[in-house]
Structures are given as structure tokens and as C-alpha cells.
Symmetry: C2
DNA sequence: CGTACATTGAACCGATCAGTTAATTAACCA
DNA sequence: TGGTTAATTAACTGATCGGTTCAATGTACG
């Protein structure tokens, strides 16, 4: 995998377990054990996922006795939003073309 | 890599070469040779990148004699935009917290 | 027909990934 | 102090990635 920041973020997001973890963290911070609970995989596996998310800057980890509460970080998600936002114009064009197409087939029988 | 659609799309985006290819295609369709031109890698390497993008639904390929023109497809990018949009609220909260914080340190000297 | 061009396929390589189990660290608690 | 709990590290595995080179395919064109 490439090591530029955006690539690291996208790679971190390319896994449903990690996205589920982010969704959980959007509701508030949680410990590793709490985050692992919904999954069938081992704890070290979850720990590795968290490390991937941390290296992508998507989460930070604090310390509270023997717990390591995780918190979601918005910045990389904004990066993603900004990147995909560059294609907004393309979305719009794409929709316009679809509309045109639908208009055309809609009026196809009008002038045979 | 997981094989659910969104994971496949994110994985495809987790490479600067592939993102550069998409950026190029946002300006209009192009052949494999044209797409490969800016890069130092071999043509088969670019061909592989294109296959990854195609399997993610990010591009489609047509046929024109011995050329295979590639076109950008908006749908998966919309998927990404929608996904990240779910965190918009979190962005806003995050900004609000930052604003609060900035306000606090800004007024720190006011009431000692 | 034969040759040149655009692209893909096949086989291979080293690196990384996602998971496992077992051992280790670190903090609490009685 | 010793035991329990939370989490990470270490070592290993099979699969996938991103790149290479060389060969094959398919199309145009003289």
C-alpha cells in the first residue's frame, strides 16, 4: 500500500470491521473490549484494526487505568469528503446526462 | 481485502496512481496508453490498476479498434460521498468543540 | 499476407494484510 | 504479594498487492 496520507486513510476504510468500529465510535468513545464485543474475531485482531485506524489518524487512544479508550477523529474523514467533493461536478454532469437520456427515451414515441 | 462493494471501492482508491487515473478520466475518456503516459511503470502495471478500478465500478471500458477507451463512472464515488456524509454531523460537532475550545482560550485572560 | 501497434495474460517476486495462538505488559484489587 | 483483567507484542500462516518480464491476442494497414 502507498504511504501517502490519503492512501493510508482509504486503505483503513477498505474493511467493514474497521468501518463498523468507526460507526460505533461516532456515538462516543469506547474501550478495545467494548469495540471488539460485536465481532467474532480475537482481541488481537481487533487491536490490529485499531492500530490501522490510529496510523490513519482516524482514531486516537487515551489511557484510563488498564483501559485504552478510543475516540474518533474527524480530520481524515474531512480529507475524504474533500477529495470526493472534487468529483461533485462530475456527479452533477452524470445526473444531467442521465436526465437527458431519460427525457429522450421518454419522448421517443412522440415523433416517430 | 473484504469483498463487499464499499470495501472494494475504498481499496481501489487507496493508491495514488489509481486516484491520478480517475482525476485524468474526470476530464474525459482516455485509452490505456494515454492513461499510462504520465507514469513510469510498465503498461501491464497500468492495465492491472485499470482492472482494479473496473472491478470497483469506478470505470467502464469500451472498444474502438485496438484501443480500449476508459470512462469514469460516478456511482461508486457517490457511494463514498454518501458514506462519509454520515459523519457530517460528527464533523460539525468536532468543529463546534474546536470553536468552543478556541473561545475558551481566547477569553482565558478576561476573568482571571 | 505479413507487420506494427494497443492491450492483456501468465508466471513470478518481495512486501504487506488479516487472522490465529501464545506470551507479555500493565494496572487494579483483595 | 499474588491473582485477575485489559490490552499489546511476537511469531506464524495463507492470501493478496503492486510491480516486473515475456508471451499472446486482436486489430489496422501497406
Amino acid at each position: 500500500m502507498a504511504n501517502d496520507q490519503l492512501s493510508v486513510v482509504f486503505a483503513a476504510l477498505a474493511d467493514p470491521t474497521r468501518r463498523a468500529i468507526l460507526a460505533r465510535l461516532a456515538e462516543g468513545e469506547a474501550t478495545v473490549g467494548e469495540l471488539a464485543e460485536p465481532f467474532e474475531m480475537s482481541l488481537p485482531a481487533v487491536s490490529k484494526h485499531l492500530r490501522v485506524l490510529e496510523r490513519a489518524g482516524l482514531i486516537t487512544r487515551g489511557r484510563n487505568a488498564q483501559w485504552r479508550p478510543c475516540r474518533l477523529q474527524a480530520a481524515p474523514l474531512r480529507q475524504v469528503a474533500d477529495w470526493v467533493g472534487n468529483y461533485q461536478q462530475f456527479f452533477d454532469d452524470s445526473y444531467r446526462r442521465l436526465d437527458d437520456y431519460l427525457d429522450r427515451i421518454r419522448h421517443q414515441g412522440d415523433t416517430p
